[in-house]
Amino acid sequence: MDTLGHLLKGLALAAAPLNLGFAFLGALLGTLIGVLPGIGPTAGIAILLPLTAVLPPATAIIMLAGIYYGAMYGGSTTSILVNVPGEAASVITCLDGYQLAKQGKAGVALAIAAISSFVAGTLSLIGLTFFAPPLADLALAFGPPEYVGLMCLSFSVIVGLSEQSLVKGLVSTLAGFLVALIGLDPITGAARFTFGSVQLLGGIDLISVVVGLFAISELMENTEELGAAIYQKITRLYPTLKELRESAGAILRSTFEGFFLGLLPGCGPTIISFLSYDIEKKISKNPGKFGHGALEGVAAPEGANNAATSGGFVPLFSLGIPTTAPLAVLLSGLMIYGLQPGPVLFKEHPDFVWTVIASMYIGNVMLLILNLPLVGIWAKIITIPYYYLAPLVFVFCFVGTFSIRNSMFDVWMALLFGVIGYFMRKFKFPAAPMVLALILGPLLEKTVRQSLQMSGGKASIFFTRPIAVGLLLLAILALGLSIYARYFRKPARDSSTLERKEG
């Protein structure tokens, strides 16, 4: 069956009432998570991931993917109305979005953000549809040494996920590896780092770590500040033809930038939204208007972060490489269902993968409807007091973690990782590399040892097979480029610029 045939079959499956219902629920919850400052898409997916265990795999991933791209839509609402980004990828939208709101154009800014998100999201889904399968086909010829190369390529995203310090990102990665080693060795069955504990023989459950590091630690940190939001009123909602024309170029350019940069390890939606804003400012005939209410300043980052979100699914589905933290958590969701993302996913579970991709087209339309006419409702939700929200979210964390194995030990572990995650935030250790290592670490260890078994213990096996060498070189190149972009290229604008501007 060709790509279009698969997509049509996927659309038929995605249109089943159960899948449609959960796509809507995912889009709705994603928008809510995006709107509420303090709960990002990573924490949102982490909280709801265990609760989806009762659903069929495709339905669960449809909902979780909906949360991710829904949060990208919803994140712009608080950026524009409150000057507080709902999630990191909408930080740059604050610059012009809030200025437009102060000028009485909040409705127009919200509409441009939603239209840009919809166009970019849909166009980049077309890219996902046609790019992912050939990439997966190419990767089907992989043996253990090639998988080692692929894992190394996956780990090159650590630079992008390492926020402020690469060494801290590496420490976090090593810690993830260490947690993954706890339990029985998958090849020999020897107990490692269990210290005689029977409960540790089964290892530490991935969900406990994810919920602790992302959700509980976020609740703890947000508990420090309980300020109330003040938001601008929404007036005229639909843009004029002139305003649409003004933004059209920025929407299309940001789609292209977002999708292709989103394919690269280390390039998450946040970095890409900053980059896209910078490009628009540089090519603008009137760069002075940026920061003072330029519609392109809203269209570009919102288009770019949505295109990058869809773009990120290409390496996730075809190679098993998560390029962002929410995708790393989503990857853990796939693992829970026994689905190994990567080359074999398209071959062994075509119905699953095409149903999820097709549902994203439907989800994008749902999001446009949810975000445009209903924007007034989302604006009101911002006013829900945090003192009610946080405890209720914590109950979700408890139920979700407990329900995976009906184990109180897992809940205690989630609390422990919550505390660890809180201190990691304080000392600026990123949590995403730890989760990435926790997911990919066991696979890396297994493939390295299998490769060495194949070669009789000689490491030369990694440097004599062309695809393995190619992937290792690609990993080195990706790592080098990420390090260059991070340390040697002057950033266009960063959040500190934003803070100075607000101050």
């Binding site: 009762v54 590496l170 420490v171 020999t188 780092f193 309980l226 304080k426």
Partner: protein, 147 residues
């Protein structure tokens, strides 16, 4: 300081991995091979941090942003109630533990209207019980109430 801690953890991991029996396999293929390299990585990263801390001036290194005393107490209180919530599950059961903990957490985080917070706590805990236990069939802790 943290760098030193990581270096010590790394050394401990190396020590523990050397003690893992190789199960008759060559050392490079045995269960202790990977943890040993991992420990080495910890030592290197830890030493990097120590060296970095020595050579970076105080003006360039960013201090940890600890919360003010009242906020820190709130975080500690939230964590304490979270521990109470988990610890009380097997005694009180999910329904009662959720109800009590929600009221206490609402109050700690700043809710002031008792009627409002009690209503939200009752509705939420009964709602969660009905959805998770009765509808989705999850096996939640029963406690003294027996359900």
């Amino acid at each position: 300081m943290l760098g030193l801690l990581f270096a010590v953890i790394g050394a401990a991991v190396i020590g523990l991995s050397l003690a893992i029996p190789s199960q008759g396999l060559e050392k490079s293929l045995g269960p202790g091979f990977f943890p040993m390299w991992l420990g080495g990585g910890f030592v290197v990263c830890g030493l990097f941090q120590v060296v970095g801390a020595i050579f970076s001036s105080k003006s360039t290194s960013k201090p940890v942003m600890w919360p003010p005393k009242d906020a820190a107490l709130r975080v500690a209180g939230f964590l304490g109630l979270a521990l109470f919530y988990v610890a009380s599950q097997e005694i009180l059961g999910f329904l009662l533990a959720t109800l009590v903990s929600l009221v206490l957490m609402f109050r700690l985080l700043g809710a002031r209207r008792w009627v409002e917070m009690s209503t939200i706590a009752v509705v939420s805990s009964i709602g969660a019980f009905l959805v998770f236990k009765l509808w989705l069939g999850m096996s939640l802790p029963a406690g003294i109430l027996g359900f």
